[in-house]
Symmetry: C2
Subunit: 252 residues, 2 copies
């Protein structure tokens, strides 16, 4: 929840088990999963897919953690929020765990997505195969520029932005991607929200404001580079004021 939602830490009150009591595994329906954990589930999913592809059918938390680039304690803690899907002394069944994570994220269904702003980046996103292969399908491309209309991009015609409402309603779209220039982003976001979109992935280099209940995630290319630059700059300083050590040559 990027859009200010400290409100959803509502206590569950009586956690009513949603089936027969004494289930061996699985998680009660309403349990809260920490945001940091949610952000890693897709990584585990990918790692599991990779393991499955190379023929592994069982793995330890250590194995999976290595494949996902985290430490095993964190991995086990994360998985424990979903339920007990491992076997003590053995490990995890790759296919089974993979399914459970996919279900938790909501990838057992297909999510229709629209992309607004078909410039260089919009093109690349429309052609990105990783979306479709992970349960998302790009159902429409929109652009305000009439010159681009009906041009085919990744097999889809670019449509006028005014078609937004019809498309969203007709296809039941709840996720929108903004790949417009910064100046247009807030306006586009407002219209997406007005049409009923409740999740936005924003590539425009600007902060967008949305009402409560709408999630925004942003991907900002130049910010990532700036963060790297900060660290890079510090590396460049000969002996970064660390612990004494070699400051004999300071005056050299």
């Amino acid at each position: 929840m990027t859009a200010r939602t400290p409100a959803d830490d509502a206590p569950d009150g009586v956690v009513h088990v949603d089936g027969v009591a004494g289930r061996p595994q699985g998680r009660e329906s309403g349990r809260e999963i920490p945001e940091a954990t949610v952000a890693r589930l897709p990584i585990y999913l990918r790692a599991l897919t990779s393991l499955a592809d190379q023929g592994t059918d069982t793995c330890s938390s250590e194995d999976l953690a290595a494949a996902a680039g985290v430490n095993s304690a964190k991995l086990r803690k994360d998985l424990s929020y979903l339920g007990s899907y491992g076997t003590r002394g053995v490990g995890y069944d790759v296919a089974y765990l993979r399914y459970q994570i996919a279900r938790e994220i909501g990838l057992t269904q297909d999510w229709p997505v629209i992309i607004v702003g078909i410039g260089n980046l919009g093109h690349a996103l429309a052609n990105f195969s990783g979306f479709r292969s992970r349960g998302f399908s790009v159902v429409a491309l929109l652009d305000a520029d009439p010159q681009r209309h009906d041009e085919l991009v990744a097999g889809l015609p670019v449509r006028p932005f005014d078609d937004l409402e019809r498309i969203v309603a007709g296809q039941g779209v709840s996720i929108g991607v903004i790949a417009t220039p910064a100046v247009a982003a807030q306006d586009v976001a407002d219209k997406l929200v007005a049409c009923g979109i409740t999740s936005i992935l924003n590539f425009a280099p600007t902060v967008i404001n949305v009402p409560d209940g709408v999630d925004v995630r942003k991907v900002d290319l130049s910010i990532e580079l700036q963060i790297l630059a900060y660290h890079e700059q510090r590396k460049a300083i000969p002996a970064t004021a660390a612990d004494g050590g070699l400051d004999e040559e300071v005056t050299a």
Copy 2:
């Protein structure tokens, strides 16, 4: 530091002031800035640029926080790590603060960057104007596919991957962008590191391993969508097993 660096929380030991004592403002050279703060500095920088463009020359922490999409307490705390660049009872001088942040991030110099993998995404990145305008210049485009060599993208010829070492050494490049397919990413990363690159921005949907001292940041498009899907799925559940409420229809 994405690449496991709990090692760099080395204590500063004696913090030797780098000039005359009793400076009115400014920060001793070696002070640690929290990673979370570093990640927000580029946002503040952008907000300040935006304020400057619209003619504002002074702003309060409240104003700037609103423009950056954070709360003012966090903003003031963040800025306090840099030094005391505001005036109590007045606020911040936009141009001055902007310069100080830019200097802190290391944007007073220009950073040469190379992009490896000139597919759809690589194209978009090469053409992305936000890099150049923020102190980065793309100095070379590399691709393993001979068919693409010498093709002009954003005014630069695509060069064979084997030219890597010559380019990095010749241009003093320390930041590399990976926009290759996942299978190639680890191999490319290894070669970048071998040539002396110490910061990597990875767009390939895979975990890459690098030695200590090398920073990696990743941008993963489908992971962002998956995180949105998780929250979207939960919104869809009528009354998310919150506090009792309407579970009459459970058996319906």
